[in-house]
Symmetry: C2
Subunit: 302 residues, 2 copies
């Protein structure tokens, strides 16, 4: 292995580890009850287990690890935020929303099951996130639990992810400028990525005023992530993505790519990643995984 490959290898290993751990956490915490609710829990498992990059849980665990948090707690908190992400994808894929047929390379939940089950499975995963975080098994410290919950609830509601999704729907008929698209994306994807970083720091019992650099990092990778997503939507391969692409243009939505053009968008993503890495200057080698992750976010092909 060359030295240039080494960080990528560490990241690859961390991604594989978190994917394995999140799958086994969902598997353990979502047992099929053996009663008329089976179909609901099977739908939750179908959507939650075995798909996705698990970027949000990786962010939680990478930050938590910097502060010596035990891995079990980080993985549990990661499963909670991933449950929120998964529920939002289920609802987003519904016919009345994006009407998508493919997610993580398999039929979307409402096609594999039915629409009513998809609505309820999304709602149940939403509640599940807060069940996990409020459980004493999450942390013996109720203040840690309640701060995790507060961070995740705020990032996912009308002032976070759901608010961004609403702006995204409005973008089909309105013509948004760059500041408005930036705000939309900060809410739609940035809020939850920011919450992941914040949750890692909460587990590490870092007080709010000690999280400034990490927040700067999260803000920059959040935007870089979305620009990379827009570039993949424009140039990517549907098979690698495991979902339909080039829908934004078809729906007449402004994106970073439509507003900046491919070259300037790519350059902007690169600048944001360098900025994100600079925010980590106060930290040593313990933040290397976050540095690698920032670079991976713009270099990934799905």
């Amino acid at each position: 292995m060359s030295e240039a490959d080494a960080p990528q290898a560490a990241l690859k290993q961390a991604l594989a580890a978190i994917q394995r751990d999140i799958d086994s956490t969902f598997d353990a915490l979502l047992p099929v009850p053996g009663d008329p609710r089976d179909r609901l829990v099977e739908a939750m498992r179908y959507a939650a287990i075995g798909g996705g990059k698990r970027l949000r849980p990786l962010l939680v665990s990478a930050v938590a690890q910097m502060f010596g948090v035990d891995r079990t707690s980080a993985v549990r908190a990661g499963a909670a935020i991933e449950a929120i992400h998964v529920y939002s994808l289920i609802h987003d894929d519904l016919p009345c929303m994006d009407d998508d047929a493919l997610r993580h390379g398999k039929p979307t939940l409402h096609l594999a099951f039915d629409e009513a089950t998809a609505v309820l499975a999304g709602d149940s995963l939403h509640a599940f996130a807060f069940e996990v975080l409020s459980d004493p098994a999450m942390s013996g410290d109720p203040f840690v639990r309640v701060e995790l919950i507060r961070t995740l609830a705020t990032a996912s509601g009308a002032n976070g992810m759901a608010g961004g999704q609403m702006m995204d729907i409005a973008a089909e008929t309105a013509s948004f400028d760059l500041p408005t698209v930036t705000r939309l994306q900060q809410l739609k994807t940035g809020a939850l990525l920011g919450a992941a970083v914040e949750m890692g720091a909460i587990l590490g019992k870092i007080p709010s005023e000690g999280r400034t650099h990490l927040r700067g990092y999260a803000r920059d990778i959040g935007l870089a992530f979305q620009i990379a997503d827009d570039l993949l939507d424009e140039e990517g391969d549907e098979a690698a993505a495991g979902k339909a692409l080039r829908k934004d243009a078809a729906q007449g939505k402004e994106t970073f790519v439509s507003l900046l053009g491919i070259e300037r968008a790519r350059e902007q993503a690169r600048i944001l990643v360098e900025q994100a890495v600079q925010h980590l200057a106060p930290y040593g080698a313990e933040a290397d995984l976050l540095r690698d992750l920032a670079r991976y976010i713009v270099e990934r092909n799905h």
Copy 2:
């Protein structure tokens, strides 16, 4: 006012007070942001403000009052559980679920707005409940906050309300017996009513082992409430109910009325209410509102 009317008058007053307080709490906590998310917040307000009996908040505040909890905290916790109830109605009314056109005497949210907005407004009210409960303004004691959250998340997810809704969908094609219908209703409506009582006791800092009698009360009024609902569905007036009735029979669902007949169902509800009142024997006049509420639940006409 005759003596027999006095308790009814006290309950009527308590209902009016909680309806006013829940409306003003939603109004204060859901300001329209003045940006492209306006439509989302307006939809949340449309569904949350000015409708419903507010039984769950009344249960929270009636129990909290028994233990000297300040009203502001009780009302906040009540708004959180009501937000969960409202989100479940929004999603339940969707075309892919019950496909209802009328709720609290006005068009359902997906008709007044659109389906995508209804999905997102439901999701946002779901998150809002946990934003409210996790906020330091809820309680200075993080343990109280996290216990409120744990109770509400568990009661609303796959092992509570959402699980009951899934069983309710299964009831359209399966032929459930009395124990299964009882279990279905304990999850679908009983879990959240139980959570309301539990949350009042948590605010009062009553330890779990001191809540046995209140849990018995909640279990009995939960079932009585559902039997009364089934009776109203069979015999009630759509204008007074503000929603479509007699859908269960049309969908071939077994209910307490279809399984027991009208007379035995009515008798069963009466027995449950008396049992519920007996659970309150350890308490004095401070539990009178709960006693009146139990009787109201089977006597109401909507």
